[in-house]
Amino acid sequence: MIDMSPNLTLVVVIGVLFAAGTYLVLERSLTRVLVGVAMLSNGANLLILVAGGAAGGPPLIGVTPEGEMSDPLPQALVLTAIVITLGLTAFLLAMAYRSWQLHRHDEVQDDVEDRRIARLAARDERAFEDTDTEGDGETLAEEAAIARDETDRGGPGSGAVDHGPAQDDEDSTAGVTR
């Protein structure tokens, strides 16, 4: 079994990287956030490595005797993580550039819509109009009076005037405009 007592130097380095990284990530400038993210990922990579055990020889067969090798699995995990961090860095930088193109700075601004909602809520106003749930003072009976199905009225009765179409038109417009 590999020696599992922690290496203080690395512990301190990890702590500092995370502290500085977090401090920077909480900034508004995208560049600083990016530097913070890079530090955090460096710290996380070290953390994975430390969790895998103490230092050893490089995990190359033939170079290091098998018992003295450092754990290769965390190394494989960290290796891809490093390259992915490069991809992430490039992507965030492209975002910073785009932000500069649009706003002439790379600051992460507050979400305008969220602030509008907060402002309206503070004044107890509604952020949207929902006429379907608002009561408009109409009673059930009034609503029922204008709700008619599109029915087949059949032929005119004895002497009755067929005013079906006119009636229907009236109803459908009433239904739509309200």
């Binding site: 079994m1 401090y23 890079a38 953390l47 290091t64 490069l86 809520a121």
Partner: protein, 1045 residues
């Protein structure tokens, strides 16, 4: 039963096409689906009678214990007959009811049939989760049916109200089902009812939740309001959903569970209070409605209360009466709705103040209405009478139970109200009313004085409606239902015979009887009294109405609902305002604080600290560690962007040293390469950004950030201390060394892990790279995947690449120019001598596209170095790629080295040089790389292996000698191509494209941002050799603007 459900589903799916093809007649075809269900149930009547109904079980999701299990017992049989029979009749009715041109008939037919199918599933399901699924399906389909006229606000609102109320109840029911099933240990309905858990608070909560579902679905007080509002639905929907089928689902649930739980106090109180309340409230409010459908709707509410009271009572007699009432109600109420639909179609209104003489014009309709009404108010010899008699009889026998007397009183009063509104309904629909005639013909206001209720709507609305004669086809479904109400009552002992099996599962009381004449019993006298009082109430209808109008208005449930929805919206807005601040730092801060608290607590309380620590493995670690710490702190404090980036780079290189010391040469190599490329990319973008971070004056928030940062650092350091010693198992990588050589054919375990042992992981990771590269390109190029490739021969002759800054050496360069750089040109006067330079000049160029650069940007030393280094680097990268299987290296490292080589070419020669170095679209590289990795992995399948399995091929080449080829090499080549593609994409978008924009004026460079153009400045004014470092150069001092003459 699955077959029947499939028939319904198929009918629902083809309904739109069918309606488009056959028009209204399609409803006849659709009616076959529910009709088949009813016929199937009727065919099984005999076996169901003896308790041997069909059972069907199909495993669905065995891991959840969910099965498609159905069975037909007496209760299900009754419900199936009702659901199928009424459904078929209503569909037939639809074929004549709607105009042929009516909108959305296809959708209507489909949803209607789907509803019928869901209802069928609901009443036959034997698995409680399945029951819930069908329950919610009926909710959704009823939502669609109520909101059929989606252009009307009333319809939309009613539909929304119905779905909110019934879904809320449905979710409560789900909780109840889960609780009860947990206690019973099975989701099977029959198993639960055979041995119901009755003890414990969980069971009580489960029953309460179950009842919540039933109460909302069956529109009991205080959730009754959705049902009258749902009258906005087309009348056939009201007839089916709101009389026969959906509202009965709640009743079904109560009837299903009553044998097991009717003794529970929570059950008794709920059923009695809500049932009686609903019965009385519905009847009371029905008396005052003018719209016939609303009269029926409140009447339905009232009757549902009655049925729930009876089936939930818990005695056999009451249960029998309740079941009979359920069937009778389905028949007469559906029939009445259909009749009202006919009246509506004939007269164009349902307002009983405008209807007069309809009975004379439509005698068959009036007859059907009369039969159904008689059944509803309980006149002999109709089914309603038989059921109500049995109910009164059963309640009279509930001795010694005070609740029983309350129920009896409620039933008697409610029945009297039923008589009153039933008579008023028929009178309102069909009678010839003098008041209406007088007023309309003579415009005589006095005539209406005696009947204020009729005059209430004003003169206009009391004009009598014209009557037309709709198709007779409309009448007979109503008539069939009404006549059935007589037939079942007249056949002696039929109902009792059929319904008794379920009623006898109730634990208490004596079996009841369904008979037309039981002699002169107390119940008989009660019936006489009910009819008398009801009749009086009808005669005095105007006075009753006026009195109701004067009565103080109590809180209406509908208004409470709307107000609470409004409050809910407000609450949502407030919660949004509090939690959703829209500020990234705040969000992150909250997340991090929560994380620190949770993990920190766990660290402090639940872990054991290591017994021993080592200061370091090698003392050199402390040196590298110190560099990392110092650079991190300085970078966090830096105010200049470039300074922060460079410090970050230094830290990164130091970490590579730590990797190396830890025994990870692959990591160290990759880290160094990545740091280098990162620096280049950073600087490329920093050209555009202001040189300094903007000031953040809020000192307090800075300390908060600092505090959070320190907290996170401390917690993570704690994790790093605890994690190594927390390991309890041998690492999975213990055998990697052996496996890597045996199966992977490589000595570099890390590389074999990447390309073989954990190749799936790597595949996912290179996909991420591809996505990132595409993201970068699309953020910069915006409209296309990537721009064109800049080839040297297409370059404009003005040599303007990276121009735009003054050329301090112009004066010196001019005399020497003709010797050293023949194609020299001043920035202000674009060179036109290109043709004269020709190929001879190119032959002496160190870089192919060097002459496209602005002269002040060129550096001979840099060009020479690049010229010498480029190919060496490419060869080295190929070496890394092929040797990576056995030594440090591999696809990632090789790709990064190639990427750096390309970056160097770009830095030395500009975008045309990059185009010459890599005349290929990065997308091609990315795609090819992923294809190689994945494709070769799939190729293993062809040879009978598993995906991504690798083979070791050993053979001897004539000159070469021994060759050992591992197929995972192709995977590594794929990785290599993806990485190269990523770097190339970044260089082309963040480098070349930004250059092009700046030069073409597309990116207006702000005055204050020019200072950020550090690369330009250092190239303009600083020592040229320092550029080999590329990035690590401070801003030059010699930036005096030299005016070019």
């Amino acid at each position: 039963m699955l077959l029947l459900l499939t028939v319904h589903l198929a009918a629902a799916l083809v309904a739109p096409a069918l309606v488009a093809w056959l028009g209204r007649r399609a409803f006849w075809v659709l009616a076959l689906a529910p009709a088949s269900a009813a016929a199937w149930a009727l065919a099984h009547t005999a076996v169901v009678r003896y308790g041997r109904g069909p059972v069907e079980v199909v495993e669905w999701i065995p891991t959840l214990g969910l099965e498609l299990s159905f069975r037909l017992d007496t209760l299900s049989w009754l419900m199936t007959v009702v659901v199928g029979g009424v459904g078929a009749l209503v569909l037939v009715y639809c074929s004549a009811y709607f105009k042929p041109t009516a909108a959305g008939l296809g959708r209507f037919g489909g949803v209607f049939t789907a509803f019928a199918g869901s209802m069928l599933g609901l009443v036959t399901a034997d698995d409680m989760l399945l029951l819930f699924v069908f329950w919610e399906l009926t909710t959704v389909t009823s939502y669609l049916l109520i909101g059929h006229y989606a252009d009307r606000k009333a319809s939309r609102r009613a539909a929304m109200q119905a779905i909110v109320v019934t879904t809320a109840g449905g979710l409560a029911m789900l909780v109840g089902v889960v609780l009860l099933a947990h206690e019973a240990g099975s989701y099977s309905l029959s198993a639960l009812l055979a041995d119901p858990p009755t003890q414990g608070p969980l069971v009580v909560a489960g029953i309460a939740c179950l009842l919540a579902g039933a109460v909302t679905k069956s529109a009991l007080v205080p959730f009754h309001y959705w049902l009258p509002a749902a009258m906005a639905a087309p009348t056939p929907v009201s007839a089916y959903l709101h009389a026969a089928a959906m509202v009965k689902a709640g009743v079904y649930l109560i009837a299903r569970f009553a044998p097991a739980y009717a003794d529970q106090p929570v059950w008794q109180w709920t059923v009695v209070l809500l049932g009686a309340g609903t019965l009385l409230l519905g009847g009371y409010r029905a008396l005052r409605q003018h719209d016939l459908k609303l009269v029926l709707a409140f009447g339905t509410v009232s009757q549902l209360g009655l049925i729930v009271l009876l089936v939930g009572q818990g005695t056999q007699g009451a249960a029998l009466a309740g079941l009979a009432m359920l069937g009778a109600h389905a028949m007469f109420k559906a029939s009445l709705f259909l009749v009202v639909g006919i009246v509506d179609a004939a007269c164009g209104t349902r307002d009983l103040r405008r209807l007069s003489g309809v009975g004379r014009e439509l005698p068959w309709t009036a007859a059907a209405g009369a039969l159904a009404t008689a059944s509803m108010i309980g006149l002999p010899p109709f089914a309603g009478y038989v059921a109500k008699e049995a109910g009164l009889e059963a309640l009279l026998h509930a001795e010694g139970d005070p609740l029983g007397w309350v129920v009896l009183g409620a039933v008697v009063v409610g029945s009297a109200l039923t008589v009153a509104y039933g008579l008023r309904l028929w009178w309102g629909a069909f009678a010839t009313k003098k008041a209406v005639l007088t007023e309309a013909q003579a415009d005589d206001g006095e005539g209406g004085a005696t009947t204020t209720s009729l005059a209430e709507g004003g003169h206009e609305s009391s004009a009598p409606a014209q009557i037309t004669h709709p198709s007779l086809l409309l009448v007979w479904p109503a008539l069939v239902l009404a006549l059935l109400g007589v037939a079942v009552a007249l056949l002696p002992g039929l109902g009792e015979d059929l319904l008794l099996p379920h009623a006898s599962t109730y634990p208490h009381g004596e079996p009841g009887h369904l008979v037309l004449w039981a002699g002169v019993t107390p119940a008989f006298w009660l019936t006489i009294g009910i009819l008398g009082v009801g009749g009086l109430l009808f005669v005095a209808r105007d006075r009753v109405e006026r009195w109701q109008g004067r009565a103080p208005r109590v809180l209406e449930a509908d208004r409470v609902y709307r107000r609470s929805m409004r409050r809910l919206d407000d609450l949502a807005a407030d919660v949004t305002a509090i939690t959703q601040r829209g500020s990234l730092p705040v969000y992150l801060g909250i997340i991090l604080v929560a994380w620190c608290t949770a993990v920190g607590t766990a660290l402090a309380s639940g872990t054991s600290w290591p017994d021993a620590v080592r200061p370091w493995d090698y003392a050199a670690q402390a040196v590298f560690g110190a560099v990392v710490v110092v650079s991190a702190v300085l970078a966090a404090r830096a105010r200049r962007r470039l300074k922060a980036i460079i410090l970050l780079g230094i830290g990164g290189y130091a970490i590579a040293g730590l990797f190396l010391l830890h025994g990870a040469p692959d990591l160290a190599l990759t880290q160094v390469l990545v740091e280098t490329i990162s620096l280049v990319v950073f600087v490329l973008v920093l050209r555009r950004l202001p040189p300094y971070f903007s000031d953040r004056p809020l000192a307090l928030s800075r300390y908060v950030r600092l505090a959070i940062g320190v907290a996170v650092g401390v917690v993570v350091a704690g994790i790093a201390l605890v994690a190594p010693s927390a390991r309890v198992h041998a690492p999975v990588s213990a055998d990697f060394a052996e496996e890597a050589y045996e199966f992977g054919g490589g000595k570099n375990i890390v590389n074999v892990t990447l390309v073989d042992i954990r190749a799936w992981d790597t595949m996912g990771e290179i996909s991420v790279l591809l996505v990132a590269a595409t993201g970068v390109a699309s953020l910069v190029f915006l409209s296309a995947r990537s721009g064109r490739i800049f080839r040297e021969r297409e370059a404009p002759a003005d040599r303007a690449v990276w121009g735009g800054v003054p050329d301090p050496m112009a004066a010196i360069r001019r005399p020497a120019g003709s010797v050293q750089v023949p194609a020299d040109a001043e920035p202000g006067a674009p060179g036109t001598r290109r043709a004269g330079v020709g190929t001879g000049a190119r032959a002496r160029e160190w870089l192919r596209a060097g002459r496209t650069l602005a002269p002040q940007r060129r550096s001979v030393i840099f060009e020479v170095v690049v010229r010498l280094l480029f190919h060496t680097m490419i060869v080295y990268s190929v070496y890394l790629l092929f040797s990576g299987h056995n030594q440090p290296g591999g696809g990632f490292a090789a790709g990064l080295v190639t990427g750096i080589a390309l970056a160097v070419r770009y830095l030395a020669g500009g975008r045309y040089e990059l185009g010459e170095a890599a005349p290929v679209q990065p997308g091609v590289l990315l795609g090819l790389g992923l294809f190689l990795s994945a494709g070769v992995g799939l190729g293993a399948l062809v040879f009978g292996g598993t995906v991504l399995q690798s083979w070791i091929l050993e053979f001897t080449l004539p000159v070469w000698g021994e060759v050992k080829l591992v197929t995972s090499l192709f995977f590594d080549v794929g990785v290599y191509l993806v990485v190269v593609g990523l770097v190339l994409d970044v260089l082309r978008s963040l480098g070349a494209e930004i250059d092009r924009r700046a030069e073409s004026g597309e990116d207006e460079v702000a005055a204050d941002a020019v200072g950020g153009d550090d690369v330009a400045r250092l190239e303009a004014g600083e020592t040229v050799p320092a550029r080999a470092a590329g990035h690590a150069v401070e801003r030059g001092s010699g930036e005096g603007p030299e005016v070019v003459p």
